[in-house]
Symmetry: C2
Subunit: 325 residues, 2 copies
């Protein structure tokens, strides 16, 4: 690979001058500019960003830690984060924590070592102090760690209300809520809280199930859902905390001969693109993945640039009614 020195020699000036045209800083003659650009073309020169990072103390890299990119919700969010990062001249280092505490720690150290300019955290298994000691621009997705670390979430409480109210409105008498892990302090817990409030308020029979901690496991979902219908065959409404789980519920209904929405009504969560493809369409609460990604990037960049950013960033959700209700 050609270096700045090569092109300096070729043009017959010092590296300083070349650096100047590279960065378009200070006075440079048109003549020099032209020659340098030509030489760059010829030698196929590409500035070494590693060297630049070292001296500028800025890598232009954002680290992203999520449980699993292959989960459709995180896949979509990641897509948009990468999109907006690139648009703003940043690169994305991707880390899949699998909701594993140790891996999460290691990734954070790795990212610090790699001199990333900021971290977007979509996985939160560690203790509060582990996050506060990071000392790097940070933004979390769906978790409020302290009031100093900005977070982005969609309006989980509202989502929980919308889903629960819809099921009630449609006449469900016994409703199950299948939530994610309730102990991780995720804001997604608010969906559960809203569910409880609404349902208690209306005095409707209900149960709450929780999926386990070990990431996203389709088999686990399957067992959970199957056991649920076995123990509570009279369930006629399910509010699932993800579209994946909702699809699992739908599948189980088919398997045991319950028709949807006649016997059982189902509401999912996330509004993943793939949800459109399932028949009957699963009613869902759509999270604005694009806006989440965009905001995550802008909040990180603003912090990198030393600006103050709002700590609470709650984006609206939207109820999408399809055939499962």
């Amino acid at each position: 690979m050609a270096t700045i020195k090569d092109i300096a020699e070729k043009v017959g000036v010092t590296v300083t001058s070349v650096s100047r045209v590279l960065n378009n800083r200070g006075y440079i003659s048109e003549m020099l500019k032209k020659k340098v650009h030509e030489a760059m073309e010829e030698l196929n020169y590409q500035p070494n960003e590693v060297a630049r990072s070292l001296i500028r103390k800025k890598s232009n890299i954002i680290g992203l830690i999520i449980p699993d990119v292959s989960h459709p919700f995180f896949g979509e969010v990641t897509y948009y984060i990468e999109y907006y990062a690139d648009k703003n001249g940043y690169k994305l280092l991707l880390c899949n924590s699998k909701l594993n505490k140790l891996k999460e720690k290691e990734y954070i150290n790795m990212l610090k070592g790699s001199q990333v300019d900021g971290i977007i955290m979509g996985s939160h298994t560690m203790d509060t102090k582990d996050y506060t000691s990071i000392k790097l621009p940070m933004v979390t997705l769906d978790r409020q760690i302290t009031d100093t670390i900005p977070y982005i979430s969609s309006d989980n409480y509202k989502g929980g209300e919308l889903a629960t109210n819809l099921l009630i409105k449609k006449g469900c008498k016994k409703i199950a809520h299948i939530s994610g892990n309730l102990h991780l302090n995720l804001l997604a817990k608010l969906r559960h809280d809203a569910f409880k409030k609404v349902i208690l308020n209306k005095g409707i029979e209900h149960i709450v199930l929780q999926t386990d901690l070990n990431g996203f496991n389709y088999d686990e979902y399957e067992q959970l859902v199957s056991a649920m219908f076995q123990e509570h065959p009279d369930i006629d409404g399910v509010f699932a905390s993800s579209d994946i789980i909702a699809a699992q519920v739908l599948k189980e209904c088919y398997r045991i001969g319950k028709s949807v929405p006649q016997d059982v009504k189902i509401v999912g969560y996330d509004g993943i693109q793939l949800g459109q493809l399932i028949t009957p369409g699963i009613t869902t609460i759509k999270q604005p993945t694009k806006d989440i990604g965009k905001m995550a990037v802008s909040l990180i960049i603003e912090q990198i640039e030393g600006e103050d950013v709002p700590k609470e960033n709650i984006l609206p959700v939207k109820l999408i009614e399809r055939q499962s209700t």
Copy 2:
């Protein structure tokens, strides 16, 4: 952030010695080792990988260019690539090209500038010479660019045969194949070739449709599939080039009142995890995403280490029969 100098001063030695214990190279007294490690603990020291990369001329970063992480197939592959990269001490820089030629070029330059040690290319919209001029360890997914650049693909021809034969065996009389873009020189084209060969061989009526170039667009799929059934209402078998498209076909069948598999039989491709959730289950040709990811990483690393690697790497596919056939 503490630097090597800080810890050298704290311990009362030179940076050279500290560097030695960091890298466990050369003679170092146990005493020094211990002291240095203590100081590292105390100052929460993390070696600056940017500085290391600069001097070692090795970043330990792999670049990954794919069309779109939020597409489930690529999401899964990306997940495994990151997994194995991390396992081998490498980091992953993620790039979504959206199958856009210009973006792909820019990403490649960006990755070169970032001094990545190698590139895994899962997006191929450029011309052959653009790839050969990259001069960096590289491996492509599903495209044979030249006989010098190693590629990984699953056995597309076999997959096409399996799918087509199954549909025929199940009694289909008019079979449609919905392929991806046939002009991108992807090896996925072999699915189409196999389809043609088998179907002509048996003299069965058929049509071939092609999805467009602009990445993955659910609306486009919808229109395509809808138009297909309108023009050819007598189609009773569909071999789709992805599970997503197959799901779209299934959905359209529901919409227009065709039952699956009685009226129309469907075979998808990829074997994405999400496919399990759809009812009726869509028969599919499963690509070994985990093995693909693992092999991509190992082929890149072997090249980085100067080893020769096999150029053609074809992994087996597997027919998974579900209810759509």
